[in-house]
Symmetry: C2
């Protein structure tokens, strides 16, 4: 058998390659592979399904991630995908494979975090699987949500002229990870040294205990705002904007000055000799929402807290560009996280 | 932190322990943890969700399981859980974590098997995740099905006097696995020797390419038969009957002469110096249906092919017993598969 390295395709290319020949035959399948979640028709309300797998040594490092935080985050990243469809999560299933180095007490910690997320987001744990693994911990979570059919928001609805909006702020989770990785390296070389997180609670918190933007979806409903396209920022602004532009068949112009970055993130980026905008564009794991709105809805967005207008959707031929604070136009590249 | 070995609780005990404090708050959650699948209310039709994780070195051995068969079986075992709710599967999501020893071609083989199962059972692949793992292959599949609310069949509906029914035949998958394991050991010791599967196509096929009993659920609908309780036989007849009895609050009497065992299974068991009924009771992986019916429905079942009446539900105080062909009463034990 030929041996083609999976790296040659990249994560998204690989999924696309493996799933392209699968037909959709069920009349209830409204959306299959390729958005934040799949959509199943159930009459006036649709069922929205999203799934994620987290693998020890790839997605998390138990050297600095407490199990309770890991449980919480594992749930939140899935709920974030449901919110990114403009839907509300209702149920989750949790499957765990773990080696015998994990005790009942360790699993209780993990499930305490899962429970805390269920409490915070009002979702029910309804099923799953617990099994052994020869090595390490793997967590697979599936979230099930609900949405009125006419309110579903896909990645493919952006049109030239639409405004690009971002919630919260970007780049902090990436820098939090850099800090934790640095302290781990120092500790490995000098086990006596206490970790110095430099009182960077904000960035570390964004990495270890992210939240999904349920509040935004609630605010959209209250203000009768329906985005034209939406995605959650899990791979970095650049990569996630590429998904919207590719599926909508558009280009985009992002203003660097419009990309929200927390002051602590700015400072920390400089300490790591990184450009803050690079962290926002390529960092990922922020779990904020990136969405586009009809320009007629601009007034509605202006009165909502924590939403920033960061640019405009263009024709596909105009490409996907960043206008820097210095006034230079840069072609954006979708780097994102490459796990392979 | 205290270190309690997970083996002290067992697989089912562990799930029960970890999930017992999770409240169900969503009005749409009709059934949470503890049946073949969770049930979500969507008006006249309910959504049924089941998830399973398969780990290399625990649930499968790529030394003798072809990747295409693995893909097929991974889907089938999930669909089997949906059928066991008296529901029809419609969609699946597939998440894969694999080490870099797997090539694109190997994944194509795996997905060819997944595709074949989607074709055979008319389900849509609607989502998933593909990621890297430091070691081995882990597959997590979630199946989503649909059922009219009044036709849902849980594990807890059996009543004393109900008849115990089994589809197909039991024990072959377990013996197929013994045969494959034996040939693997011989091959490891003498790499020159060709595997001798003794023309045991039936048992090997039942292990490598099981099917879910969609035909039975279709027959139930056609004949207006609604079982009072149902489960799929994944852990062995004894263990799965225990689940029904425990949740229904009943006992049971199984007639050894009523338990269907294929002639090839009988012969192969004897070659391995095993009692065929032990293979049926404790082997597992048959993916047949074990269900109970009201005695008034006995006539309906008699005219359906491939269903065997194997005993009767009793009061809880009567225990769970096997009446052997020799006329002895044995207390049944729920051994099942212990993976930890």
């Amino acid at each position: 058998m030929q041996h083609t390295d999976v790296n040659t395709l990249g994560e998204f290319g690989l999924i696309e390659h493996l799933t392209r020949d699968f037909p959709l035959r069920q009349p209830s399948t409204l959306k299959g592979v390729g958005d934040d979640a799949a959509v199943i028709d159930n009459g006036p309300f649709c069922t929205v399904v999203s799934t994620d797998m987290l693998v020890e040594g790839i997605h998390f490092d138990l050297a600095y991630v407490p199990l309770k935080h890991l449980g919480y985050k594992s749930v939140v990243v899935n709920l974030s995908d449901i919110y990114a469809m403009n839907a509300f999560p209702r149920q989750i299933t949790v499957s765990i494979a773990m080696s015998n180095r994990f005790s009942v007490e360790a699993l209780e910690e993990l499930y305490a975090g899962i429970r805390a997320a269920c409490d915070a987001y009002n979702v029910d744990l309804v099923g799953g699987d617990t099994c052994s693994s020869p090595k390490g911990l793997t967590i697979s979570i599936t979230a099930v949500g609900q949405c009125e059919k006419e309110l579903l928001t896909y990645r493919n609805g952006a049109r030239p002229g639409d405004l690009i909006c971002i919630t919260g702020d970007l780049g902090a989770a990436y820098l939090g990870l850099q800090l934790l990785e640095r302290e781990k390296r120092i500790w490995q070389e000098n086990p006596g040294v206490q970790p110095d997180l430099e009182n960077q609670k904000y960035a570390v918190g964004r990495q270890l205990k992210p939240e999904a933007r349920r509040d935004m979806i609630e605010a959209f409903r209250k203000n009768e705002l329906k985005p034209t396209a939406m995605i959650d920022v899990s791979d970095g602004l650049a990569s996630d904007l590429f998904h919207i532009c590719k599926q909508s068949g558009t280009g985009a112009l992002v203003e660097e000055s419009g990309v929200p970055i927390h002051p602590d993130t700015q400072m920390l980026a400089l300490k790591f000799k990184l450009d803050p905008i690079t962290c926002a564009l390529n960092g990922g794991e922020d779990y904020e929402l990136l969405f586009t709105i009809d320009p007629n809805d601009a007034e509605k967005v202006k009165y909502l807290p924590d939403i920033y207008i960061a640019g405009e959707i263009l024709d596909a031929k105009d490409g996907i560009k960043l206008n820097t604070k210095g006034g230079n136009l840069h072609e954006l590249k979708a780097q994102g996280w490459v796990h392979f």
